[in-house]
Each structure stands twice: as C-alpha cells, then as structure tokens.
Amino acid sequence: MSIISRGFRGRRRDDGGRVPPGQYLADDFPVLSAGPTPRVPLDRWEFAIDTEAEQTHRWSWEEFMALPAETPTVDIHCVTKWSKLDTTWEGVSLDVLFEDVETAAEYALVYSYGGYTTNLPLEDLLDGKAWIVHRFDGEELEPRHGGPARLIVPHLYFWKSAKWVRGIRLLNEDWPGFWETAGYHNYGDPWREQRYEGD
C-alpha cells in the first residue's frame, strides 16, 4: 500500500546495488554532529581500551602512529540518507589494537572527546570490520570530520563511526549511546534500514 506522489519521477543512478534502500549518493561530504567541533591537541590525545575487568590499554599519539596502518577503501552510509562510495581512509585496524586485550565482553561503548558515545556489539569491531583512522583521501583528517582520529565501522550507519574517538569501554551488558538514547536504532544496519528505535 504505497502512496504515489503525483508527478514525482526521481533521479535514478545506477549504483551497482551498492546503495542501501532509502539512501542517495552524495558527491560532497556532509557533516552531522550534535554540538561544536572539539579540537584535540595531539600531545594530549590518547586512545584507550578499558576492559570489563578494569584493565586499561592506552596509546599516545606517537604510540598509535607507530602501529601498522591500513588504507581501507569502503562505502559509507549516513542515517540522514546520504551514502558515499569508495572513500579511502588510513588508520589502524581494531584487530591490531585488540591484539593484547583479554576480554569476554560482548558489548563495546565507544566514547569521544566532547562527550559523544555510541554502542555496538564487540564483534562488529573485529575481524577487519573497523578502524581508527587519522587520514581521509590522502589528507590529514579535518576536525569537522572527526580529526585527529575517528572510528570507521562502514557496515553500520555512520553515527556508529564516532568522531574524535577517545576510547572503547568493554561491557558485559549493552549500554545505549547518545543517539541510541535519543530515538535512533540500537544496531543501525543500513541494509535493513534500521534508522530509528523499533525499525
């Protein structure tokens, strides 16, 4: 029972099946966040993984930059309907960061400079599915896009890819983050259009 909008034709593009339902291709790189852009000086930047056993693994900017880097090229999908294909990033796979982390936790709460949080199952961060990146398209990551470093989890809506990332807390129980508490879907799979709570 779909309602036809008389006179609407739309603009179709052949995207080879790479654009999830309800999304359109953006040529530019829109920005969405809930407040002002935090600016984090590199000498004070750190990234931490806190386990459920209260062990903390920490990296300074220098230590982080010394880790083996990858340059993933991925498609990204924002819940505000734009998708971008073949974006290229540079950063460290979460698999590398988790090498020495001992955990039985199932959930991760990602937190950022500026107070943002987002949650996801830990398994969605591992096995080549996620990176902490510091370069976009060959350039240093601009603050408005989450620089100095952000998370990238391309298979979920982009609000899960926390900007200005500061750390990950591992939890035995799921703990909804900022948008997840504000009515957005807890998981956020773009292919299943999990935009809002209950989708």
């Binding site: 779909s2 309602i3 909008s5 006179g7 034709r9 920005v31 407040g35 002002p36 408005r144 209950g198």
Partner: protein, 241 residues
C-alpha cells in the same frame, strides 16, 4: 517498541516563502504531535515504485493533524524541487516522525535561548519561537538570522511584528539593505557578542544551517566562553557553505 510508521500526508496549503522556498501545510491523520526542533522524514514514491526520502524540520507546533514544513529549492536536487515546484494541493507524500530528541526546545525550560540560523536553518528555530509564543513562555529569546540578502528571509512578516522577549537581528552575507552599519559579510565574533547573550547568562544555544555556517558559529560561541554542552547544532546540507 513499535516501528515509526509511514503515514500518508496530503498537501492542504502551500505558499511561497521566498523566491526559492515554499511553506507546505500537510494533513497527517493521527499525527502524534512533536517537540519544537524535531524533524520528519518525507518519502516520495514514483509511479514505478522508485522512492526517495529526505529529512525536513517541522516549522511550528502541531495544529491537530496539520504540520508545516518550509523547503528551500536546491538546484538539481531530487526531492526539494518536487516539494517546492511540482507538488499541488491534494497531492500526497508519506511522512514519518517526529524524529530527533536532542535539537529540541521545551516550553518548561527556563534558560535564556540564543537561536543562530543560516538560510533554511531557520526552520527548526522558528518552531521554537512559535512554540514559545503558543505556550505563553516568557523565557528571553534572541535570534540571529544569517541570509544572503533581504529577499531570502523566511517568515519576514511574522518576525517583523514586535514580540515581548524576542529580539531578532539579521546578518546579511551578500547584500544588506541601505542604512545598516553592518556591512554584508559572514558571521563574526562581534555579531554573536552583540546580538547574543553573554556566556555568564548560561543560555541554551541552538545553531542550525549549512555545515560551514554551523561550524563557524559554534566555534565563535566557544570562543565567547559558552560551554560546549550548551551549544546544540543541526547541520543541513553539504560541506560547501
């Protein structure tokens, strides 16, 4: 949790807001109501089943089953030209919402409010102004509204009428009317220092508009000492601005 349903919505009235923007009044049966600042998703379906969706802020409080949107035509856009040029009274779209629980103003709130809008970013801010009026709130509001030239102002008539506790200032970026001392230029520190509230008043700041505008305005508010957690932003549209 029930899924947010798509509801049929029928255009009952439309009026030009500016040369490039149009205000649409839609009837959405069983509309549950919304908060000032929230948006809806609009879905268009072509005869062959092709669909496109975009988000639009609601421009005012709900009036029973009626909601109002104001849409700016984006050249070569897929959805906005349909809403501003093609759609006629009686035509239907689908709507779901309301969405967004962060960029909202509630009439119970007591903090002074600073609204900073650029272009179509005025829409959710206007919902806050109208909600304040409807609720009889006396919370002091200041609106700084940045537009290219006087012809681009939305809601110009309504904002011209004096309203106790609401100050409105325009910031023109390309051409200002004769007789203004402020030259046409993008938003600057002085604009927010003079037209806003001192940070010590701890106002709630709502900034909405194109990305470049929101970035600039939010950075200036931080520079003036406003706490980041009191600055709520909503970014419409591309990075270009």
């Amino acid at each position: 949790m029930r899924r947010l349903a798509w509801r049929p919505a029928e255009l009952v009235h439309a009026a030009a807001e500016t040369e490039t923007a149009r205000t649409l009044r839609l009837r959405v049966p069983d509309w549950p109501g919304h908060l000032a600042g929230q948006h809806v998703d609009v879905r268009l379906t072509a005869e062959d089943g092709y669909t496109a969706q975009r988000s639009y802020s609601v421009a005012g409080p709900a009036d029973g089953d009626l909601i109002e949107l104001t849409v700016e035509t984006v050249q070569d856009g897929e959805v906005s030209p349909y809403l501003t040029e093609e759609m006629r009274v009686g035509d239907q779209v689908e709507i779901r919402g309301p969405v967004g629980g962060w960029f909202v103003w509630r009439p119970e709130s007591r903090a002074p409010v600073l609204l900073v809008g650029g272009g179509s970013g005025i829409v959710p801010l206007m919902a806050m102004i109208r909600t304040r009026r409807q609720a009889g709130s006396r919370v002091p509001f200041r609106l700084l509204y940045s537009v290219r030239d006087p012809g681009r102002r939305y809601y110009a008539e309504e904002l011209r009428r004096p309203e106790p506790g609401l100050d409105v200032s325009y910031l023109y970026t390309r051409s200002a009317p004769e007789g203004l001392s402020r030259p046409a230029r993008r938003i600057m520190l002085d604009d927010l220092a003079e037209g806003g509230w001192p940070a010590s008043f701890e106002p709630d700041c709502y900034v909405c508009g194109p990305t470049g505008f929101v970035e600039a305005a939010a950075d200036l508010l931080l520079a003036l000492g406003h706490a980041p957690e009191r600055i709520r932003t909503e970014r419409f549209g591309p990075t270009g601005g």
